[in-house]
Symmetry: none
């Protein structure tokens, strides 16, 4: 089986890449993107700086790859939340639960996410990386709206979807920064906001 070697190598390489991205996420989360040094990331990954550059040509590419991974994981979370669900048949509360909980969980589990995507000087490449999930999320929320409020004009629907997403994403920092005993109440409130908005749209008939 001569194919074994390359495959095994590739597998090891991918494990390495994953480790580096894990390390990078941690360092980014702790220091922010700019103050995170590639040497610190390499050290956190248990490799040498030179090795890091065998996998990523530069710091931006590393950030990009981490962003891509975040995006892929996000997409998976979204798929789990959205696929095979008939949102038209659910109550607004159930819709909110389905959509919000997994995404909140993702953000709580991945503190590096914010450090990458919330930085004020995010280059367009990075923003572009996020675009697929944003686009997918937008599409799905639009679909939910279409299912629930069929008569809504397309531009209004798109705008409302963007607003819904933004409300939610804007609340994430509040949820993340709220310590544990109080956090569920905040999450409940976030859902009330979204539900309220959804209901107000639906009431327009």
């Amino acid at each position: 089986m001569p194919e074994e070697r390359p495959r095994r190598r590739q597998a090891r390489g991918e494990r390495r890449i994953a480790e580096i991205l894990d390390a990078a996420a941690g360092v980014f989360a702790e220091a922010g993107f700019e103050r995170a040094t590639t040497n610190a990331i390499a050290a956190a990954a248990g490799i040498s700086p030179g090795s890091l550059y065998q996998f990523f040509p530069n710091k931006a590419a590393l950030a990009q790859a981490l962003a891509d991974r975040f995006v892929a994981e996000m997409a998976a979370a979204h798929r789990a939340a959205f696929d095979g669900t008939d949102f038209a048949a659910l109550s607004v509360g159930e819709v909110a639960d389905r959509v919000i909980d997994p995404i909140l969980e993702f953000n709580l589990d991945n503190p590096g996410f914010k450090a990458l995507f919330a930085r004020p000087d995010m280059p367009s490449d990075l923003a572009a990386a996020a675009q697929p999930i944003q686009g997918a999320l937008l599409g799905r929320v639009t679909a939910i709206l279409a299912a629930r409020v069929p008569g809504m004009p397309e531009p209004d629907r798109a705008r409302s979807a963007r607003v819904l997403i933004q409300i939610f994403q804007g609340m994430v920092p509040l949820v993340v920064s709220t310590p544990e005993p109080e956090r569920p109440a905040v999450i409940a409130e976030v859902k009330r906001v979204l539900i309220g908005y959804l209901a107000s749209i639906e009431s327009l008939k």
Copy 2:
């Protein structure tokens, strides 16, 4: 008039400081805090690097001063929005207009604001600078809630105030990033969200 000289000097110094802060806000907005170089800020202010350091002992102090100025301007905007207004007598829509419009305008006018206060590694000093407005804003929104929903338990009120503020602050990027012809519709939607949440609270009696 021998008092003229120092006064004029001081006036010039303060104008210089204002110019430097303007320049810093611009460079921060464009490059982010970390990538903004003091030399670039000096150049943008039309002065030499050495001159910059006659007004601010270091980059952090410059950031602090800019933050303080933002905070002061924000506070003024808040005062203009809140003081002398009987929020209990207004409709929810009017409340939303009064509160939201000036703050949105401030954010649209000051792109450097975000670069300073949204950076992932904000030092506690900077955060402390923002605390006064945050605190004041929280106090005022809490007061509005108290006026409009007297029977609400205190912890719920505090939480709802935080959520209201966060909804709004979370929407700011969306508003700012929406180009002009579409922007008013987005702002209207933001208000609908807030109004919806307020109404849902008030309906609890």
Copy 3:
């Protein structure tokens, strides 16, 4: 022999450190501590500025390390001069030869020494580094005096030891600055001074 690698590495690292200290001693000697730039030291050591900082965290630490090395070498010279010698059994001339020659030689061989230890704003850390040799030297000269002039009161002895050391150290610049054909005569004269002082003490019985 797997121990070879780290050992070799460490050896190379220590050679590098020695080279840097050599370079620093030269640059300090030529320009003085303040005017010596770390980049010039790096260049003199044949390395890049960044490399210098892999061995020393800053200029002060570099100076400290150089001082420590000087001190260690001085201490070795002192030990060679003092240990195992019965100064009570020697003539004053022999005592002078034993003590003076190696220290003079050290100063002639290490022009950077003066640049580090004679600077007017020597930080206390550096002074502390020199204190061990100064203390040891003082102890040894005091011991010699005790051996040769047993009846001397302790405070007088301590003072005389300090004076002897100071005479000698004060003469070093004269010796160093005297060009070669004349230098031995100056050294002879220095010894005459010390011998004369020693004799005058001993004559007190």
Copy 4:
């Protein structure tokens, strides 16, 4: 009296210069030459940086002028010590008193002196400034030796004079750094050294 104005101006200018030199001596004494900033000197002199440069074209010239003043004052002290004294008729102890006391006093009174003349990177210009007093001192000590030890060969005499001067100058730091109750004993010891050396020369007949 039209000559009055320029003279008065000149007088005021010279007073200013003296004040600046006083300030410089103080700052040099406290911070060392390199770390002393011209702005600090100007501030200590109670003038603006610009004014300082009306009197001295640069920092080196200021140092030079201060050195020159020190030298002139030293020369005066020397003249007071040497002129009109028949050293051949005095005991060695009296010679030592006459020569040493005023110079020690000068050093004790002028802490800036050391900061200027003891710095490791003294430029040749500054050294040249000191040369006149050094030369004069050398001449006078040589003359004393000639008066007291007529048969001494010229080269030996010159060398002994240099050694005598160097002994003394080398002891100055010890004297200056010795705190008050103990200082006179140290001074007495310094004199014993010089007397001992002088006596050993004279005994050669």
